[in-house]
Symmetry: D2
Subunit: 297 residues, 4 copies
């Protein structure tokens, strides 16, 4: 009845929550199969291909790294398109472009199945604790069936209408705002440093007062302390997301100069070989531009 494809640091805990909350049988697939072990112990069934994870008329979730991976899983040789069949639903939880979401939605429609976008905000711990925030969009009937399930996976579900691309736009907007906040904090903290103000005191104050929210508190503190481990979200993935924002902005003719700043910053970090660091490490470039030598390159 249920399938789950993509068992990375986000996919695995989400699939586990599906299992725990009784969504069975659950067929699971991952390219490197051993990741599925904890799920199989819990009673999930092992699928040998993406297609094999799908039961006609069932609901299959994907949590994959990028547009190309999702397209491959849907349209590739062992893809799920066609297999889902009448009344089947594909719930896409990855951060992908609205354009890809719309295109895949069309493909599914040709086979009588439905595509629902459900990208999430939250790190792996939040996924494990079922504390994700979930953006939702797509055809109404499918959403009605999917939403109660999603409520088991997160603390809130926000519906953005029928356009399967809409939830992707929201997710991209959110990730852009996070990256913009990190860049601005990195600039403010170097500004403070060059003007002899203690970085940690500055961010402590601001994140207790006008910016008392997790992004400023957690990211700001880590940037102030130049502490980029453990890696919560890889810079290479953050760059991919901001790149999707830029390309979606271009397609819709939306000049976004802050996106340009952050995109150039992340691209520079990639060029400097920082793709495997946490994406907060964009702050290193801000310091370097100001002539500050960083220990932690």
């Amino acid at each position: 009845m249920y399938g789950f494809i993509g068992l990375g640091s986000m996919g695995l805990p989400i699939a586990m929550n599906l299992l725990k909350t009784g969504h069975r049988p659950l067929r699971v697939y991952n390219r490197t199969a051993q990741k599925a072990a904890p799920l199989l112990e819990g009673g999930a069934e092992k699928a040998s291909t993406p297609r094999d994870a799908v039961v006609p008329g069932g609901i299959v979730f994907t949590m994959l790294s990028d547009d190309r991976a999702v397209e491959e899983v849907v349209l590739g040789d062992d893809g799920i398109a066609g297999r889902l069949g009448q009344d089947g639903i594909h719930v896409s939880m990855s951060t992908i472009s609205p354009e890809t979401a719309r295109r895949l939605s069309e493909k599914h429609r040709e086979y009588g199945s439905a595509f629902v976008s459900a990208p999430v905000f939250g790190r792996p711990e939040a996924a494990a604790a079922a504390k994700l925030w979930i953006c939702l969009s797509g055809p109404r009937a499918a959403k009605t069936r999917v939403e109660p399930i999603l409520r088991h996976l997160g603390q809130a579900v926000y519906d953005f209408g029928d356009d399967p691309g809409a939830a992707c736009v929201v997710k991209l907007s959110g990730n852009f705002l996070i990256s913009a906040a990190m860049e601005a904090m990195a600039e403010a903290l170097v500004f403070a440093e060059k003007n002899n103000v203690d970085r940690v005191s500055l961010i402590d104050m601001l994140s207790e007062t006008i910016f008392a929210c997790p992004i400023y508190r957690n990211y700001g503190k880590a940037i102030a302390e130049r502490r980029f481990e453990p890696v919560g979200f890889r810079l290479a993935l953050g760059f991919k997301d901001v790149d999707l924002v830029l390309k979606t902005a271009i397609a819709s003719r939306t000049p976004m100069p802050t996106v340009s700043v952050v995109h150039n910053r992340l691209m520079s970090a990639m060029a400097k070989g920082r793709g495997e660091m946490d994406w907060m490490a964009l702050a290193l470039g801000v310091a370097e531009d100001a002539g500050i030598e960083n220990d932690k390159r």
Copy 2:
């Protein structure tokens, strides 16, 4: 014993709180004298010049519009320098450059008096409710005398050390981060609009989840609704503050590309005659660049 110079929308409620909490005698001065009326009714004494507001050895507060106004009040013909005398303290609550703060501190020191920076975060309502957040820096002895008084004016006081410029750097950093967040939200909201996502739904979600703090909630909502009245903080003043950030960044050789984006945006709004609007109106320029016609110019 106490003096207060500058009775604008922030200065007046602060002075009133001083009076209410028993800081008397309080001598008050404003360029346009009638603003002092509510204070005089409450028992304050009217000063005819800035100098006249000062009692030797006392504490005088200033809340003025910009660096020049503070310099004039300190160093002008009827200025307070020299009058404060041994043990007198000047508490500067305006948003001014750290450079000006340091220069005025030097001047006061020549006369044996002390200069303390105490710029604040919060709008007029917060000032009236004694809910300001106060940044503090300057010579230790003077701060020890001033801090208990400041606790009557705000909900928290944050000490940034001996450098009289330090609290100014913190205040400028905070205002820069607010402006950067507004610009980023304005971009994200136009991005959403051009991609057919409802602006208010987007900001509602984000400001309930990853950005659950007042700046994102209040400013984001207003920007999403293109509602720039009533005017909480004039754009011309916001431009002045970001201009101080830029100039302080230049003096300390700190490249801050996000400052450049916001500074250009606010400068454009000034050039378009929007100085008297709320500074959230910088969002109009973001929409115009994307080809969106705005009703509320």
Copy 3:
């Protein structure tokens, strides 16, 4: 023996020069067939499809609007791939991405034919007068055969080696530098205007002295006079080119902040409906940002 596909404002005069300099038989194709009339009168043969313009073992030139058009002509149903055969050469004169050039080169190689990049600098008048500057790159043997022909079409041919993408990189670099010069001039001219200096006097002086070259003289003068007609190069095409620069920069992880500025500027002009104006009209946005009302929107 020869084929020419794409008879727009650049392709037509180039094809005409081929004919005049004895490169016959010349088979010509254009989507809207009537454009071919002057060539047919001159002795060219009409092709009914791109494929039909190709003689196996011959040389076919393409001058088309964008990557997609070239890909379609090569790989589409009536495309030339396969038809060119052993020893056939495809000379691509359009401005396309190096990535597309490399991919098409691969495709041709599979069939035993060669792909040579030969994008050009120069406007239609230069094409007609055989005064183009031609960038060349691709496999050596093919270039040896093609270069003497190209010398009939332009005043100079510059060889950038074996990589079929190299000449595209050069062409994109040149167009980026032109756009950056236009933006910078537009900014300098508004700066002059707002500081009460005559725009035309300013550009006259600079383009007679330190910037005595055609781009500054011609474009600068037109921007100073806000004279954007007749249209030499459509803004929509200029945006397409700078967009290719940006995307090629991204693919190679090269932060280029000036590209970001120009790209945002051209994107804004597109959003404002200026795609059919000359691309110098990007200057209108510079003036608008500075609060200057333009007559010629």
Copy 4:
């Protein structure tokens, strides 16, 4: 009859040309006096203070490093104001802000003397060869007297009207355009490098064709070769000039995003300790951002 103040790498050859073309007596002043030696040998008279270089009713030239130096020479204790007297003329050849030019003009007017702006384009060799390009503005009568003299110092004089600030605006515009061209070339050259195109071949082609002018040829070549010695124009001075552009732009509410890019770039170079290199070394930062390690830091 004539005076010359400021005998640096530009001032000395200019003063020498004055002497050679019979402008005597010529009284010369420099802060470090030994610089005057070649002039004294040639018949100039040594002045012991700026004021001492002035003969009432005469013409005095200044070629100094920045606004502050010119202000000091005019208004300082040994300054020339007041000394020039009725009909005296101050010809300011330094690159200074239009605002300073206007203020000094006012000061001179109070004493009955005139202030003429005459900043120049050209490096020391051009000054020695009397090949400078000279921008001129100020009161008509004074210009009539000064212009024939300036024609002995340069190959052309361009008059920008009565406003003493106008010639400064032109000079700043020119220096901004040079810096913008350098930044754009640096970006294009790194773009080429990262896409496997030879940098020197690229700039050779472009500077022989669409950009056949000295700035692109000379600066472009040097940037392509990463050859920043000998130092023609110190980066610290270039930063000072672009900083004047930015501040003049701010005062006139002119958003100039390309200025922001170049200003941040030069500021970063200053922060990295490159102030004594040639200002073409801004190109190092472009390469570093793209992950290219530079030998020549």
